[in-house]
């Protein structure tokens, strides 16, 4: 079986969790063979939500906020910028009946590596 583990938290409490600890667990769980993909997200301020209705693309600022709809799947995509991400996401079929929230990935591993590099110097 494959399982998707979703991480929810109050962003204001993010400081209580050192990035280094998260990256260390990520490395361990990948080594164990359990983890297939994992990423940290940028703050919710950078979220956009899109819908396609009657063939028309509607983009709004902010995260998905409809309580009547449920999480049904995910796509981790590579795109040049938000415009390309929107083009790709708009073609995901459920965009026509539901919503697609687009959140940029936070480069947490690079950030932790850079911080470690600076300490060594």
């Amino acid at each position: 079986m494959k399982y998707l583990c979703l991480v929810y938290l109050d962003e204001n409490r993010l400081d209580e969790l050192p990035d280094a600890e998260c990256v260390a667990y990520d490395e361990a769980v990948r080594r164990s063979g359990h983890c297939l993909a994992s990423e940290a997200l940028q703050s919710v301020h950078s979220a956009s939500t899109l819908r396609v209705r009657s063939g028309k693309l509607v983009i709004t600022d902010g995260p998905f906020a409809e309580t009547k709809e449920q999480l049904a799947g995910f796509y981790l995509i590579e795109a040049r910028d938000l415009n390309e991400a929107i083009q790709v996401a708009a073609k995901i079929p459920p965009a026509r009946v539901g919503s697609i929230e687009i959140r940029p990935i936070r480069p947490i591993r690079e950030d932790v590596a850079a911080a470690a590099g600076q300490r060594e110097r």
């Binding site: 693309l57 709004t60 902010g62 910028d81 600076q118």
Partner: protein, 435 residues
């Protein structure tokens, strides 16, 4: 223009020549600062860095131009000075983890002057301004943020001016702009003019921002808010700029400019010197600005001929028919009803149905119009829309149905905040009570 960098700094006391350069510099700031900023944002890839660089460039100009004379191409000079100042700032700053990161950041800044940019692409600088407009009006930013960012970055209004114009506390507005810039950076909103495939959708968002700015200024012009920055003039300037910059003619951009010009043409006729509302039919048509009407009507005709027009062009066409009539009685209401029918087909909305009903009442009489308005109100969509009740009241008044007119005016009054509109309805109510 309280954001001029050289206003605050002390001018060098080098006599009259320096003062003359100072005056020239102010003129150049007004004419070029937005162009220079647009190019610096592309070169530096960051709004805040670009704004800092722009101010540094003008500060450098203030020091050097009185001494060395005016450069041959001031705009190119400013772009290249801004670019150097930014690189200098990065070198001095301790914001980078390593020398390599810093070098990488500097390497990433393209080495081109404004002249080269213009020569390279044949469009360069003007393209940067269009990029700036599309980035500020990106639909992934909130509507309020799009308006604030456009007025700040494209029009060069200060945060205080925008806050004052929208009756918003300045810190709230400043916060909105900071957040929008953070989203542009963190979400990866690119600094580019959308490709042909996306252009129509993205243009909608730009046109909506411009029309919002216009309406904010237009409705404010009715009240006693004379100190508010002239947002309508700013919106018309933006509309002209957009039309001039778009690579291919876009009928709806022309339609929006026409619509704004045609509304603007009636500005001084729609209120008495005492600030009282004057309805279209009672306006002194000699006060309408013919020059604006001519320009607006010509834009509408050209847009209609393309057959790719949309709601802005159709609304402008209606405004043009109204504006070109020599008197209310000589207005071609049949034509207006036909245009509303077209508009309803591209953009179904109860408010447009209401406006159509008003035109029908003018063409076929108040009884026919009233039946349409009452059917609309019965549907419930416009139950809290003050103009629906005011229209019903007016038609009942014309038909001599005084009690119904009174009740409808009272309902409209409950829904109206604006002082001139309230006084207008109160006058109508008083007239009804007169024998």
């Amino acid at each position: 223009m309280n954001n001029l960098p050289f206003r605050e700094s002390r001018r060098p006391a080098v006599g009259e020549a320096a003062t003359a350069v100072g005056a020239t510099l102010e003129a150049i700031y007004r004419a070029e600062s937005r162009r220079v900023l647009a190019t610096l944002i592309r070169l530096l890839g960051d709004f805040d860095l670009a704004e800092e660089a722009l101010h540094e460039a003008f500060r450098a100009a203030l020091e050097q131009w009185p001494r060395d004379g005016l450069p041959a191409n001031p705009r190119a000079w400013l772009v290249s000075a801004g670019r150097f100042k930014a690189i200098d700032g990065i070198r001095r700053g301790a914001r980078f983890a390593s020398i390599e990161d810093m070098a990488e950041q500097i390497e990433a800044i393209p080495d081109e002057t404004a002249d080269e940019a213009a020569d390279n692409a044949g469009e360069g600088i003007e393209d940067d301004r269009l990029r700036l407009i599309f980035t500020c009006c990106h639909p992934a930013l909130g509507p309020d943020a799009q308006v604030a960012l456009t007025l700040r970055e494209v029009c060069g209004l200060s945060t205080e001016e925008i806050a004052h114009a929208f009756l918003t506390p300045a810190p709230t507005l400043a916060q909105r702009i900071v957040r929008a810039k953070a989203k542009i950076r963190d979400a990866g909103i690119p600094y580019q003019v959308p490709g042909a495939e996306e252009l129509a959708e993205r243009l909608d968002s730009v046109l909506r921002v411009i029309y919002l700015v216009f309406n904010e200024g237009y409705s404010a012009s009715l009240g006693a808010e004379l100190t508010r920055h002239d947002l309508s003039a700013e919106a018309i300037r933006l509309g002209r700029l957009l039309l001039e910059l778009l690579p291919a003619p876009e009928p709806e951009a022309a339609g929006l400019l026409a619509l704004m010009l045609l509304h603007e043409s009636r500005r001084s006729a729609r209120a008495s010197p005492g600030g009282e509302l004057i309805l279209l039919e009672d306006q002194d048509r000699a006060l309408w600005q013919r020059e604006l009407i001519r320009e607006g009507a010509a834009l509408v005709e050209a847009a209609l001929r393309t057959r790719r027009f949309g709601p802005y062009t159709l609304q402008a066409a209606i405004a043009a028919v109204l504006a070109e009539a020599p008197s209310p009685g000589a207005t071609d209401w049949k034509e207006i009803v036909g245009l509303y029918d077209l508009l309803l087909r591209v953009e179904p909305s109860p408010v447009i149905e209401l406006n159509r009903a008003v035109a029908v009442a003018m063409e076929d009489g108040p009884t026919v119009g009233l039946a349409l308005v009452e059917a609309l109100l019965a549907r419930g969509d416009l139950a809290d829309y003050r103009f629906a009740h005011a229209t019903r009241a007016d038609l009942c008044r014309r038909l001599g149905r005084k009690d119904e007119a009174r009740a409808a005016y009272r309902r409209a009054l409950e829904l109206t905040q604006q002082a001139p509109e309230r006084r207008f309805i109160e006058r109508r109510l008083a007239e009804l009570d007169r024998p």
